[in-house]
Amino acid sequence: MVWSESLHLVVLAPVVAGAVGFFLPKRAYHWLLFFVNVVVVTIAIMLFREVRWGAEVVQLMANWPQWIAIRLVADLYSAPLVALTAIFFAGTFLFSTKADYMDKTFLFLFVMLESAIIGMFLSGDLFNIYVLVELGMLIIAILIMYKQDKQSVYDAMLYLMINFIAMAFMLLGIGYLYRLTGVLDLAALAERLPLLENPRAVIVPYAMIMTAIAVKAALFPLFSWLPRAHGAPSAPAIVSAVLSGVQVKAGVYLLVRLTQVFGPVIDAAPFFMMLGFVTSVVGFLLAIAQKDIKLILAYHTVSQVGLIVMGLFLGSEVAFWGGMYHIINHALFKGLLFLTAGIIIEEYGSRSYAEIRGVLRRMPAIGIGTLAGVLGITGAPFFNGSISKYFIQQGLQGDFGGIAMFLINLGTTLSFVKYSVILFGKPSVDKPLKRDPFVAVVSLLFGLACLAGGLFGGPTVALVYGPQYSAGGALSAQKLITFALTLAVAVGAYFFIVKRIGTFLTSVRTFKFTFNQVTVFMTLFFVSLMGYVWFTVA
């Protein structure tokens, strides 16, 4: 197979299969899509092999000359994420073979989302990215209100409008860039931007595009759409899992990509680093206040994305690859937690953590999966979270860094002490409902992946991205003691503080920003980013 002529097939395969097989009955259609996904996984892994040990794959669409054609690029940043997306979707299809909320339209939209995400990762053209992000946004809005119960239509409408404003910002920014440079290709932009006579002219389009990307990546203070979309009461478990596992990462990926494009002219790394830290802290503070288990997980996604962004913009190489590794890890454990949370909610008929007890006894496989996810996300030794957090921490210098990392870890552990309450205790009913065996299989496989990513952390980073770092320090005595200490403090804080300030937490939980306030935040973000860049760019 010639890669440079067939990259678009990876993008098109899911959606074409979804369209062609639409006449099949539902069960057959579901299995067809699953097998197509297995094929896509195989191709994506082969592609990754080619990129990792061969060379970057570039395809110019429709044989137009370079810089005019829409370019598809698979490089070391995008190829692992494409493979991750394909594996993730294959897992969710297997997970939901018996789910009754899915009909054929839902399945079709779901594979279309997969194509949009893979396309976003692979495209090397700014306008193409814009179109695919808009496509993904429309599909997600439909998927989160699919069951149309409770306030899901409101959630979807808010999601759609906030993101549409962000995309209008992006379109205007792209227009500015096109006027300045006359190209839309990312590589061409990177080449032409430093040649501009007046580099300050790039400030406005930079701020506009980055505001849009910051909304997509859910950075502080623009994350208020994320918990609504990811933790929407009516969104099926697999939609939440995909949104938190893969779709948010597309925003982070674009942040990295575009920072590289603008890099020679504008460098706002300290701004994004601080923003990542603040996002992380605010995310776990809000997560602690939640009662609904899906919302705990959703706010936690905000927190972890903040950590990833912090790692990526620390300016240290170890922390950068730690952040890239955390993208994969977070997809694994957060996807796992959302999938199992969906099953738990279905089983207990409740979403409140106070009403769910004894998951480990009632559904051992799901319980073990959840436990593995919790251990992964809190950075317990031997699990994947510990490795990537260790790498990110290595990039932090001085006392502030140590304190910041300890604070984030403490917050994460604290909110998951609250979450894991549902695992223990005595269930009201011992007999679980009858379930598809694939549910347990997929949960355990994801859990195993979390464990494997921890046991072989250093080698995995070396295998996926290339740089060799020793992860041995993540298992040093000091680390183990720190983890035990964090856990003890978190358990103590949970029982002595969090449980006693219920009324305060209720007021935090029920507080909601209106659409107008969110728009004001977006404008403020745009203005402050522009101001920051204005004063730092020479």
């Binding site: 809005a141 979807a156 029920t510 659409f515």
Partner: protein, 117 residues
């Protein structure tokens, strides 16, 4: 007054964008905010269309001499953007209808208060 006569369509398009943004920040009526968002989108599209547009350029269709042609790329791209914009606005309005039936209000503030806890 030279300032006003020097204004170009692309400057006005940016102005339109920010008028839309102001509307989205300030209007409590849901329909008006949807309209504001639409105005923002139109502003961005108009700006993009006017990018690299030489004075008196002709539409890039068969028969126009190449040197008089306007840059065809923005025009081709903006057709896509217009289609996307229309479909998103249509979907926002359809969703608003559902919300209005359920909560019987067209005001963001009242709506936020009436949501299920």
């Amino acid at each position: 007054m030279a300032f006003i006569s020097n204004l170009q369509i692309s400057d006005l398009a940016v102005l339109l964008f920010f008028i839309g943004l102001y509307g989205a920040m300030s209007q409590r009526n849901i329909i008006k905010t949807i309209m504001s968002v639409g105005i923002m989108d139109i502003g961005a599209i108009t700006f993009f269309m006017m990018a690299n547009f030489p004075a008196n350029a002709k539409p890039p269709i068969v028969g126009t001499p190449v040197e008089q042609m306007a840059d065809p790329i923005p025009q081709a791209l903006m057709i896509t953007a217009i289609v996307i914009g229309v479909s998103v606005i249509a979907m926002c309005l359809a969703m608003y209808m559902r919300v209005a039936y359920r909560y019987a209000t067209a005001d963001w503030h009242i709506l936020t208060r009436r949501l299920e806890k």
